[in-house]
Amino acid sequence: MEILSPEEIVESFKTALGASFVNAKIYQREVAVKKNLFQSIWIYVKRDAFRQAVEHICKLQEYPHLAVISSSDLGDSVELIYHFTIYYGHHLKELSLGLCLNLPKNDLKIPTITDIIPGALFTERETQEMMGVEVVGIPDNRRLFLPEDFPEGVYPWRKDEKGPYDMLRVLPGREKK
């Protein structure tokens, strides 16, 4: 397996995804006494090329490690970040690769990647119940952490009217926020 530098990885994404590639960031920092370089990459892609981007990561390393999907409510849109690590198993060569997508609030849909990475199931289920992003084609549609009697249409990670703010306990003598 050939190990590419972060710049080369960004270039390879540019050529593989073409117009669907939006942007990329490389973060570097020197660490501890020997001043080895900690590096991480953030790659922003459009939704239509999302699965293509995941397949491209699988070309960099056959089994990339998907740690988790994080989601942020940015007001008009939701940002999903798929936190991958590639090149693990090689001494100090591992790279954190965040695959970032921006989804508009009126169309919160993302295709599943469980057919490419079976282990993505838990985090996809969590994203679905916590952020209200519909994962299209998910093999197991149940909730993961939230109880069965949790109301429909309330998503704990949202900062808009769909957040759980009506469910908060208001202490005696306090006003509701």
Partner: protein, 417 residues
């Protein structure tokens, strides 16, 4: 007898209070006779909304202490990953000495956690004497942690931009004394766990996870390494003082020359990692650079910097159970975190449980499940549902544990004969 309509598969929900580690999780085991056909993992019984607190109530410094309480056993791993994420987001570089102190504390935690697990595993298969032995041995490292940090469990050592307490020259002899104690006792532990014939029979070829499955299901930590996946954040990623040391991920073949990926291999990996941790601490003591331990000792000033900062960061740390990752997003002018995502290693290792348990017996459930060292939080009962008559029968924790113990007794009696 081969009539399809007559086929009896039972569903045995083990949990939500589980016999293995006293933490709530439910395993719905579909069984055909004694053999497990399928397993469904149901989690969420202890969801406490910790991420929500960090995003809505607490400021980034208060979050360190919340992160510490995500888990009692990994109470170093979570703050470690969390502060690394915040430091990356806010552009803070911790002093070199602090990086070494962080590693020393993190490795001490690994020793205590692996010993704790070894005790639990011995208890699961009915070796109470080994359980008492291991937990007595573990007290030594707990005492050392109390000596250094002032606390046995939640140690509150971490701070954004460094650590809160120094480890001084005067403390070195006390640390070395404990490390020497573990070096002398290591071979005894190895004999107890790896050479005992009954333990070998109960753990060899039980709960096998093949390398390919481990890779696909993203297994990490000792669970993944026992299957031959050479993934160890300490080896792979440049972070903290680990970057200065040549750490090599431990796979069971260094000792046994084969990789089976069963419970036995997971014991091998954890035992060898205790030794590795001792070596890492010794090296840290030798090479620890002098200097400051905190970038910004004034908390109000640090809080102000964090409030102004905007950005995002990811912190990864190899917890005793595997990779622990925190993602943090800071927004300028916002007092709390904008986004906080925590992923503990058990989150991914749980996905490997159905694969591990398929084909095993009910009596193997406690030890096979405990072998991933799950960290969820406890089980009192298991309900046996007869799918044909829909009758429920109750299998208590004690009964399930008894089943597991009886299997061990049966095997050792057969050996003695």
């Amino acid at each position: 007898m081969k009539n399809e309509g007559m086929k009896t598969t039972y569903t045995i929900p083990v949990g939500p209070i589980h016999p293995a580690l006293k933490e709530p999780i439910r395993l719905d085991c579909k069984v055909d006779g004694e053999e497990i056909v399928d397993v469904d993992v149901v989690v969420g019984q202890v969801h406490r909304g910790i991420e929500w607190l960090g995003m809505n109530r607490n400021n980034p410094i208060q979050n360190i202490y919340i992160a510490e309480r995500v888990c009692g056993i990994c109470n170093i791993s979570h703050p470690f990953a969390y502060i690394m994420a915040v430091e990356q987001a806010a552009g803070i570089t911790p002093p070199e000495r602090a990086e070494y102190i962080r590693v020393i504390i993190a490795e001490m935690e690994r020793i205590h956690s692996h010993l704790l697990w070894a005790g639990v595993a011995a208890h699961e298969i009915g070796f109470e004497s080994v359980f008492y032995l291991v937990w007595r041995v573990r007290e030594e490292i707990m005492d050392l942690m109390e000596y250094i940090t002032g606390n046995r469990v939640t140690k509150a050592m971490f701070q954004i931009g460094g650590v809160r307490r120094d480890i001084t020259e005067e403390q070195f002899p006390r640390i070395r004394k404990t490390l020497d104690y573990y070096k002398t006792i290591f071979n005894q532990l190895k004999t107890v766990f790896l050479d005992d014939r009954t333990i070998r029979m109960r753990t060899r070829n039980v709960g096998i996870l093949k390398k390919e499955d481990a890779l696909k299901l993203l297994a990490c930590g000792p669970t993944g390494r026992a299957s031959g996946v050479t993934k160890d954040v300490r080896q792979d990623q440049v972070y903290s003082a680990y970057a200065d040391m040549d750490i090599k991920a431990i796979t069971p073949d260094v000792l046994t020359e084969t990789i089976v990926g069963d419970v036995y291999d997971r014991i091998v990996v954890r035992l060898l990692e205790v030794k590795q941790s001792i070596e890492i601490i010794e090296r840290c003591l030798e090479e620890m650079p002098p200097g400051e331990i905190l970038v910004e000792p004034k908390m109000a000033k640090l809080l102000n910097t964090l409030k102004k900062a905007g950005g995002e960061g990811v912190g990864r740390h190899e917890a005793p159970r595997g990779e622990c990752i925190h993602y943090v997003r800071l927004e300028s002018g916002r007092e709390t975190l904008a986004t906080w995502k925590i992923r503990a290693p058990t989150y991914v290792n749980l996905m490997a449980v159905p694969t591990m348990l398929k084909g095993a017996q009910i009596a193997d459930v406690p030890i096979a499940f405990a072998s991933i060292d799950p960290c969820i939080s406890c089980t009192n009962r298991a309900v046996v549902v007869d799918t044909k008559t829909n009758k429920k029968s109750l299998l208590t924790n004690e009964e399930l544990h008894q089943l597991c113990v009886e299997k061990t007794r049966k095997l050792s009696n057969e050996l003695a004969r």
